[in-house]
Assembly symmetry: D2
Homo-oligomer: 353 residues x 4
């Protein structure tokens, strides 16, 4: 069976290159072209590398960045993975969908549109059907977005808890890696030996997106979930891996043991469908006293193709009526490129591609 | 007027050396002796330096560490500042109090005793009178403790808010500096480019101590304050300065403007009494979008003697019914040695020394 | 006596703000105006702060950045301190000299001109007279440059050694702080937990500048010193402070003791003239086994005004015929703004202002 | 063919665990037992993990640490890989050799003995025959040591240059990772945002070992190579990967192109013999302006089994008569456990096991 041709948009950036990494040897998809802003046209990928911990194949390094022209892309590629910056993403992605392309985007531009799925296959696979409401759907074009990086890591275990016990309050503080700001991103002078307690729009995104994803799909959109969500976001001197401290008030009483059991037993759609990039266990609960940690757990996820796709949870504990836990996920894989790749895999499995 | 002779216990450690720094040229106190475990007896302070960002005077560097013998210390020094490790502190501090010494301790050993003030002069100066209940008080001996480093930074602004509006819930996540673990403390292999979401006993201390300090002094102890306190503690790659993310449910509605005004107007006992180590403004509220930060704010506090004694608050904001803020303080000064020095100053101002 | 009015060029940058810090309360100079590129015109200094570890006075923070118009500046200010980027510096500084202004520059643009002093008062004060060869000198305008940051730290102890023993070979490797690249400068993704063994043009500057500074002033220029200079430059995850490892082959044999004695006894022009920003001891030799270190020694220099102006040397030792030492200096103070401030002080002391 | 049973000594430490990682699935060797000091006897490996970036197999994590009793070990295991601390290593390793065990050690204790090969198969494979001079050899027992971590990375490219051009002088400065100090090793308070220009005995080891390894094997020992070697060693805030700056005076003139060609063409014994842990290319020369870097190159080496075994060289350039280059290698793999594993592979290939 021929592989589906896919375009990578924003291939000179951190997220774009994570797309390339995940697609280099994908069983269903094949990179049809790399695209970025005019400034980078014609450059070799190897000459604009941002991701430092990956050894790309020589052929991949030698690929040239091409002109980002939506119609031309749509002719060559059935799917476009977008790692474009938010300001550029909006119109480009719309143009691609108009041209009949299936767009899987990491950008925030379309996330809160009622007819656009804000999708994590482990959390709300049924939302994917929202694409059928999109005007371009009849011609094969549509937009699916993955969630914000810090929202994603939290949403997966939250889903397992929410469906078992309900939620009244989630209070989360984040310890976010610098790769989340792209490249060049955070100046070293701002973050070496420091904590920066501010990430533009991040708290708003977390507080908003979680309610859409845990909400119910209706005929024309999503009925948002209702619980208090209070987010506080900071940057710390870590390269990859968002760590998050969550305190929750559950909808009904549950012991730590019961909660851990639910988290470990969580087996949602991607695992049932055995999507290529789905980790065998979407949530890994650690027993150690001091985990998860970015250095140890950022690449959690098996088999090899799913490295960085599992969410690690640790220190589930209680303080009076509140349940606390720590959550860690790879922000540019699970919370970025990998999120959209698995979204596309779900679409393919559901015969929408 | 002759200065009061004071002993510094644990002078080879991080907190002990912050005591030395604050006492080198103090208007009321004079270092009578430096003490530490047998292992260090006879060593020059200059040969066991842990604090790297201070230039001590040559005379100070040349002082020798002496044998930690409580009775001998009590003869020479009216006051003992203790930076001893918790396991050693308990008996040594009791012995010193028995011998008639006024002990101001950074150790946790005696903090939760009903007759021991867990004291922050900006928060609960009236608790100091608890020393009169201690059995050794009649002979001049007593123990006063400062609070845990992460509790201290939070307690100061929380006091201002609590007395104005009351509190139903405080949910705090910490970003703690490595100096809080003493020396050698945290191995570099554990923290470089990493977050460690566990500090032994820290969450328990925070959840417990805050209720004692915001509680009411009674004839024989303290009636603890009652509100939900949920703490989650982590270590980050920062040398000095604990950053904390707090989300609160206040007892009654208040606007951000009103809260900031209360924080800025907060003028408790140390400032009224003009204690030498008290900063002119105990709480500094920053208007910038991205403050406080350790690199910028850890040494907040004026005049020069009060550097590192002010607590910096930033990003006071609301999310639904919840008020959020970031808090930063110097963990080994405001939350350690400086805390006990200002406690002793309060005792002196109240003629208890 | 009225203070000399001085302009600070490039006041929104790292070096510019170090100028402001050093000039805030200077006994001879007074800030007449802050200047930067058009983009920053009209902004408050407090709103574009880069330097994080300094508490500027409120008046300073409230100063506005003004338009960089050479003629207007020259009317108001006798002296211009330039922290401009190299590409802008060349023409602007020339225009200021044409307009009669005494320019003290941190930029590289004019450093190697035969008629421009590349000046470190501790190293080659007699080179200052080169300004008299400059065509604008008769109207009071001239340009004096300080050396590259990594060259400066090395040049001071090298001078003491060169004049005592001569030099055949200096082989230096640098461990340079990120502040040397300005702001935003080095992306955190490139340097967290990493070493970057490349700094553009840095090795060339070091190999070239040292020969000019240790050379002999002639009537129209400088006869360069002749010895082998081999430099290798790298960036490390340090905020401030360039550490350098030097191995030297001296012109004649000397014991470690003799060399250390020469370094400690070094008392050049700035110390003899008691220039305001000159540290009492220009070279501090540490006896400890593991110094100098950025965290301990970057702010070496007494009195308070000279903090960060001393060069710290440590571990002077020999390996066969080679003498090794470690050198540390503050790259944006001693090796940047402070270098030009002390240059201007020398000019003033020599009645050239 | 049955695999050779091997013991791992010091299995609770950083080097010991790198041995375990490399031996988990080795084609020739099989872990027969894990050994460490009494303190750790009976503990699960999974409970004393130091290496954070490896996912060990569950069986491996569940292995227990056993008592380090040389005779018992020798009965079970033909080979012992030693990651013991130097002070313990000396006697234990001798006892193992006495008991007939082939010891491959990372410890420094026996390195400079005339009858002990200080071995890097890429550099001096013929030195391995020195074991035949050891008194225990007739009974099958002997000791082979790998070189110091920082010496190893340098020795490989130096060998290629030395055999082609000769060497008069090598001047090296190191940027060493904290993992080189073991665990807990370097306190975070000493290295966060800092450089520590001192590593005990490291410069002496580098200056001495290189001459032994590049020396000629004689009937009873080694005739040391003769050239000037000047080393200066520092610790930097990097987890894994020693970066080194080398300046050389070659024995005869050579262009950069010629030198790079020699480095790339270098194909020593391990590659000819296709030893399992030998990388296809022992030296990788990068063309980029800013490589090697720890974050990019520390795991250089193909195929998968040889990850971290290649040495990366970059920025080969000249300054007058001197040739400069940057070198990077993984200090606990190439310069530690991997060094001894490949030594044992060479011994096996030469039928000495």
């Amino acid at each position: 069976m021929a592989k589906i041709q896919v375009a990578v948009l924003g291939a000179t950036g951190m997220i774009g290159q994570r797309f390339v990494q995940l697609l280099e040897d994908h069983p269903w998809f094949e990179i049809g072209g790399l695209y970025a802003s005019e400034r980078s046209e014609g450059k070799r990928l190897g000459d604009v590398l941002k991701v430092k911990d990956v050894q790309f194949m020589q052929d991949t390094l030698d690929r040239k960045i091409e002109q980002l022209e939506p119609k031309a892309i749509a002719k060559r590629c059935r799917v476009a993975f977008s790692g474009l910056p938010t300001d550029v993403a909006k119109d480009t992605e719309s143009a691609l969908a108009d041209a009949g392309c299936a767009v899987f985007s990491n950008a925030a531009s379309h996330r809160m549109r009622p007819d656009v799925p804000l999708l994590i296959p482990e959390v709300n696979p049924e939302h994917l059907d929202l694409i059928k409401v999109q005007s371009t759907y009849k011609d094969g074009g549509f937009i699916v977005t993955n969630a914000n990086c810090s929202t994603t890591g939290l949403a997966v275990p939250l889903k397992a808890i929410y469906e078992a016990y309900g939620l009244d309050l989630v209070c989360v503080s984040t310890y976010q890696a610098v790769s989340g700001a792209g490249y060049p991103g955070v100046p070293s002078l701002d973050i070496l030996g420091n904590v920066v307690p501010f990430i533009k729009n991040e708290e708003e995104k977390m507080e908003e997106e979680i309610h859409k994803m845990l909400g119910k799909k209706t005929s024309k959109g999503v009925k948002f979930a209702e619980f208090d969500m209070v987010a506080s976001c900071a940057r710390v001197p870590v390269i990859d891996g968002h760590t998050e401290s969550a305190a929750m008030r559950l909808g009904k009483d549950a012991s730590v043991e019961a909660i851990v059991k639910k988290l470990r037993a969580f087996k949602p759609a991607p695992q049932k469908l055995e999507l290529p990039t789905a980790p065998v266990r979407p949530i890994i609960v650690r027993d150690e006293a001091d985990r998860p940690q970015p250095l140890c757990d950022v690449y959690a996820g098996e088999p090899a193709r799913a490295r960085g796709m599992a969410v690690t949870v640790g220190r589930v504990r209680q303080s009076g009526k509140y349940t606390k836990m720590w959550v860690l996920s790879h922000n540019t894989i699970r919370g970025g490129a990998g999120g959209s790749v698995i979204n596309a895999e779900l679409a393919k499995a559901k015969k929408l591609l």
